[in-house]
């Protein structure tokens, strides 16, 4: 502890050089923070997925609707315990830049399909009894300052109403929560019946089906059975587990993630070169001072420690700043694009990993100069001065 001031002074011996090094560390860790938050979003979608839940979409494209008539046929397929449906509404509240999903669904079916979402029973009943009712996730309720009893107009970007209007007014009847931190509750649910009746086109269709397999049934077999039923129909289906469904979103970005990982690797490699160079310059230009320290009685171990501490300090300053800025950016991104990327989150594990990388990179960048300082011959170094 008593060396802290000393190490700190030495770190700032060349202010510009140190600042530039810290800046490069900062950028590397900022990148790391952003990347792991995005990676977390993809992974969490799959992690939070329920293995017994299957999603049925149109075989050609996720955005092609499926007939509502499929509901009963799916429900009677062997191995299916329950089924419900949802659609993509794609509207916004007040500010078109603030995106979040809205899904027209069946109130009771939806909440029994997703037991991880919690809503008080009387709120659910109230919603089911109000055709224009809607329920909102806690995150959004807090973000928009909306409470039960408020009226929430949503501007449609796809679904105009039969009367030509684009504004869908909803009475907020309840707020639901999601205790699982890996997945988001940042969306709005409203009644499919109202949606289907009021929309100008597309009546009698849903976006996708969600079903739960009966205990003991093999989800893969059930999925195949469903797809076989609709083979050669105008709307062939593709049934997959929820995890696979979540990952199919991520797949499109998979290659990008690989490229970014490679870039990140290159950035960290460069980072080691930059900071390693900074440290060896810093040691080289004060051989004499280091020899004096040894003369005064600083042990070999102390010399090693002092140089390593400088290297680690530089990593920690830059790394923690980068992580801090990354955290702020991720918080902002979670608010602004919670819809396209729910669950974007800088996890404690990612921060822990970053911390380990900081310490590791500090040691790697500092070890050669530190050993040089440790092995320094006092007599030679002072004779040279």
């Amino acid at each position: 502890m008593k060396y802290v001031g000393f190490v700190w002074k030495n770190v700032w011996r060349k202010k510009i050089r140190t600042s530039l090094t810290i800046l490069s560390v900062l950028v590397a860790f900022l990148l790391f923070a952003l990347l792991s938050a995005i990676g977390y979003a993809f992974k969490s979608g799959a992690d939070a997925a329920d293995a017994e839940r299957l999603v049925v979409i149109d075989k050609v494209s996720l955005i092609n609707p499926l007939p509502i008539a499929y509901r009963d046929r799916i429900a009677t397929t062997e191995g299916v315990r329950s089924v419900t449906y949802a659609s993509w509404f794609g509207g916004y509240y007040q500010d078109p830049r603030v995106q979040f999903p809205q899904f027209p669904v069946d109130p009771y079916e939806y909440f029994s399909m997703y037991p991880e979402f919690e809503i008080p029973r009387e709120r659910l009943d109230a919603w089911a009894n109000n055709r224009q009712g809607a329920v909102l996730g806690r995150e959004l309720a807090e973000q928009f300052g909306i409470e039960v009893g408020d009226r929430m107009p949503i501007q449609a970007t796809i679904w105009t109403k039969a009367d030509g209007g684009r504004t869908w007014e909803f009475d907020i009847e309840g707020i639901f929560e999601n205790e699982d931190p890996r997945s988001s509750s940042a969306f709005l649910l409203f009644q499919y019946d109202y949606f289907d009746e009021a929309r100008a086109f597309g009546k009698g269709t849903v976006g996708w089906y969600v079903l739960r397999v009966a205990p003991g049934s093999d989800p893969v077999q059930v999925g195949n059975a469903i797809d076989a039923q609709f083979a050669n129909s105008p709307n062939e289906t593709e049934t997959s587990t929820e995890a696979a469904f979540a990952q199919s979103f991520a797949k499109q970005l998979g290659n990008i993630a690989l490229i970014v990982t490679l870039i990140l690797g290159a950035v960290f490699f460069t980072l080691l070169l930059v900071s390693g160079n900074t440290m060896s310059q810093s040691v080289r230009e004060r051989i004499n001072e280091l020899a004096v320290l040894k003369t005064l009685g600083f042990s070999d171990g102390a010399m090693l420690g002092i140089v390593l501490a400088e290297s680690i300090t530089i990593m920690l300053i830059g790394g923690l700043l980068g992580l801090g800025i990354g955290w702020i950016v991720v918080q902002g991104a979670a608010q602004a694009m919670g819809a396209c990327l729910p669950g974007i989150f800088l996890s404690p594990q990612a921060m822990g990993t970053a911390l380990v990388i900081m310490l590791g990179a500090g040691i790697v960048a500092g070890i050669f100069p530190a050993v040089k300082a440790m092995r320094l011959s006092i007599v030679d170094a002072l004779a040279r001065a």
Partner: protein, 229 residues
């Protein structure tokens, strides 16, 4: 005869230069009484610095033994030597060798970092050492804000702060003008006479040597006593 602080017995030191071996010190015997102030003179390259390095445990003799106080330092491990130096030897160099990133106060405090003293006590002792060398007012100045003579005073404060018995000075006035040199030499004299420090000082300057109790000439690997002036 007063107590002996340091003893060199049959000390030789040679360096290898390529294939040749150069013997710098040859079978040297020397006793340094406690409380003495010795000046060592001699031509360049005669081994004066080498002798100081051996006395201060910065280097080891090729043969022979070096004993300081009750420690035989020629056979100590490097780690033990580091520790021993911090408590027993004060070094003063020609070019002061202060750390530029630290204030005078912090420079003087450096050797105390190796002790178990707390922060407050370290600050106190550093302040006292600076007061002794007459630079109490400059505690917060950085080396670049001090004159050469002042820098050397700070270096002396750093050498005495952990209260070592032996001060080793390698041309401490070599870089100073005559007047400033005299001030530094007077300070060393005070440390010797009033604070009981044993001092071994290498110098090229006969006037400087005059401040010591006695002088020795180092030449061709051996030491000769010379009458005090």
């Amino acid at each position: 005869m007063s107590e002996i602080l340091a003893t060199l017995t049959g000390v030789s030191k040679s360096y290898r230069k390529g294939k040749e071996t150069v013997e710098v010190l040859h079978n040297l015997d020397l006793e340094i009484p406690s409380g003495d102030f010795i000046a060592i003179m001699g031509p360049s390259g005669s081994g004066k610095t080498t002798l100081l390095n051996l006395l201060g445990g910065l280097d080891k003799p090729t043969s022979g033994t070096v004993r300081v106080g009750d420690a035989e330092i020629s056979s100590m491990s490097n780690n033990k030597l580091s520790h021993w130096r911090s408590a027993n030897i004060g070094f003063i160099f020609q070019f002061y060798n202060l750390l530029p990133v630290l204030t005078a106060q912090k420079n003087v405090e450096l050797p105390l970092l190796l002790t178990s003293l707390g922060g407050k006590e370290r600050t106190n002792r550093a302040q006292i050492a600076l007061d002794v060398v007459g630079l109490g007012e400059r505690a917060r100045h950085y080396p670049r804000e001090l004159s050469g003579g002042q820098e050397q005073r700070v270096a002396i404060a750093r050498a005495i702060v952990s209260d070592p018995a032996l001060l080793l000075c390698d041309e401490p006035t070599g870089d100073l003008d005559r007047e400033t040199a005299d001030e530094i030499l007077k300070l060393l004299q005070i440390l010797n006479r009033e604070h009981g420090k044993t001092i071994v000082m290498v110098t090229h300057d006969a006037r400087a040597a005059g401040y010591a109790n006695r002088s020795m000439i180092c030449d061709k690997g051996s030491l000769e006593h010379r009458e005090a002036t």
